[in-house]
């Protein structure tokens, strides 16, 4: 699955789609693939403050719990509640319907410090090489 060119990415495999001062955040296709079948999602309520690099929620597959780290700082304006009933959407449409939260950015410049799609794809490819070495 291609990583959208207009998104930014973290080395913890989250993506950010910033429009003005609101950013949508999710996990990447690489991340969902590493997790396997997603069965549970825990997300913060609107109004929650999140800060870059800190955990804001969890995604669970059958076999493991994974923390999701905030790529940027800000205040949650919306959480994707549909994922509570259909967490498997994270496996089928991680870059679209399975967005996790929308955040009002505290510092929009933070987004620019993240990897672009080309850099992220290189990062993931290098990781693959490391694993098979």
């Amino acid at each position: 699955m291609a990583h959208p060119a207009n998104y930014r990415y973290t080395n913890q495999h989250e993506w950010v789609d910033a429009k003005g001062d609101v950013a949508t955040i999710g996990i990447t296709d690489y991340a969902q693939h590493e997790l396997g079948d997603v069965v549970f999602v825990e997300l913060p309520k609107p109004g929650t403050k999140i800060s870059a690099g800190k955990s804001f929620g969890t995604v669970e597959s059958v076999k493991a719990v994974s923390e999701i780290y905030a790529p940027v700082s800000g205040e949650v304006v919306e959480a994707n509640l549909a994922l509570q009933n259909t967490p498997e959407t994270i496996n089928s449409d991680p870059h679209g319907a399975a967005w996790l939260i929308k955040v009002r950015l505290a510092n929009p410049a933070e987004v620019k410090s993240l990897m672009d799609a080309a850099a992220y794809e290189k990062f993931v490819a290098d990781k693959g090489k490391e694993a098979s070495a």
Binding site: E34, G36, E42, V62, E67
Partner: protein, 399 residues
């Protein structure tokens, strides 16, 4: 995103099928020092693998398991005496061709390991042991049978062990062997030609709570891969898929089968683990017996129960169990979503007073007390077909 329990980076041991797993694109993990497939995403992944075994058939590479052969020395009876001394079940009740679940215990009545004991002959036993405890187990058996008239052999590296599991396992394997599989009862075994290989041990055993077989073939890579390929080919019409340790874990959890370092360990005794029916106190002395007799009269401090989550959340291994007042009363030993039941289930140690069906237990999930309740176990029990009329006849001298 970061996996909470990422595999450790050490030089892990490999089974003869390791290269094949990697060619299949399996996700690999370090399990007890072994580089093993946890799931095969290309053929559907963990949940699909779990469902294949419950609904049809799946195949597992379980060559990481160890095998210890115990034979009599100069006189008959030495092997039986040794097995009786080091394990808690009564091996004298085993007919040739029969196997049973048992365990090796420390003098304190806690677990060295759980084992499947197979009686190959009057004076010949095969103990199948866990991967993570292989060396410890072998040392333990050697040490504790030193003064007995028996020969102990570590055959762990001699076999590739495949588990073919599921309601259609019998039809799949029957295509590859001249042994009459219908005649092999649950927890019995026979020897037969499998994929043209003579005298292969075929046991109707497994770790999934489903019908199935475990076969022991020579461990060279070429033979191992050929047998695997033939099993896949024979299973094609039944939708057979390769299954990893992830599905093996959810399957055994639903069936409430113990996993070493989880439900059983060197600090948990037989009564606590609820494995009473495999422990034959009346058979005579064995290692751990005296402590168990004492523990029985002292009464239980904790007992293993099944939990089902009532509130949203998944109990995981190691999470705390609390009572209604928020006091810690126990611990989760294994927890997972159950693909068969579509519920979040767990096994946990709690005080006996909190073990009645329906008792509320609060599992601490990321500092959130989340309600669960005690439910009957096993969580899943397969519907059994009518038992075959005759037992397998097996008198093979080799395995």
């Amino acid at each position: 995103m970061e996996a909470a329990n990422s595999p450790t980076i050490t030089e892990a041991r490999k089974t003869p099928l390791n290269a094949l797993h990697r060619r299949l694109g399996a996700k690999m993990v370090n399990f007890g020092g072994w580089d093993m497939p946890v799931e095969y995403p290309a053929t559907g992944g963990l949940v699909a693998e779990h469902k294949a075994v419950r609904g049809s058939v799946g195949v597992f590479d379980v060559s990481h398991m160890g095998d210890i052969r115990v034979r009599s020395g100069r006189k008959p009876g030495g092997a039986l005496a040794a097995v009786q001394h080091i394990s808690m079940n009564d091996a004298s009740l085993l007919a040739i061709g029969q196997a049973h679940y048992s365990a090796m215990l420390y003098p304190q009545g806690t677990f060295v390991d759980d084992v499947i004991v197979h009686r190959l002959g009057e004076d010949d036993f095969l103990l199948v042991i866990n991967a993570g405890t292989r060396q410890k187990d072998i040392d333990w058996v050697r040490q504790n049978t030193r003064d007995l008239d028996c020969v102990v052999e570590d055959l762990s590296d001699a076999y590739t062990q495949l588990a073919i599991q599921g309601p259609h396992a019998v039809e799949v394997l029957q295509k590859l062997t001249d042994a009459n599989l219908e005649a092999i009862k649950n927890y019995w075994f026979a020897h037969g030609t499998v994929c043209g290989l003579k005298n292969i041990l075929i046991a109707r055993t497994g770790y999934t709570g489903e019908d199935g077989f475990e076969i022991y073939v020579p461990s060279d890579q070429a033979t191992s891969e050929q047998v695997w390929a033939k099993v896949m080919e024979a299973g094609r019409d039944f939708g057979i898929i390769p299954c990893g340790l992830g599905a093996r874990n959810t399957l055994r959890l639903e069936a409430k089968m113990a996993l070493y370092e989880h439900e059983i360990s060197d600090t948990i005794n037989v009564w606590e683990a609820g494995l009473d029916r495999y422990c034959k106190m009346e058979k005579g002395d064995f290692i751990g017996r005296a402590a168990l007799a004492q523990a029985k009269s002292a009464g239980l401090m904790r007992t293993l129960v099944g939990l089902e989550m009532v509130e949203r959340g998944i109990a995981r291994d190691g999470y705390c169990c609390c009572n209604e007042r928020g006091e810690t009363v126990g611990v989760v030993t294994s927890g997972s979503p159950s693909p068969t039941l579509c519920k979040n289930i767990a096994l946990a140690y709690v005080p006996p007073a909190m073990s009645a069906i329906g008792t509320p237990i609060y599992v601490e999930i990321r500092s959130q007390r989340t309600k669960a309740q005690v439910v009957p176990t096993p969580f899943y029990k397969r519907a059994r077909k009518a038992a075959p009329q005759s037992a397998a006849s097996s008198t093979a001298k080799t395995i």
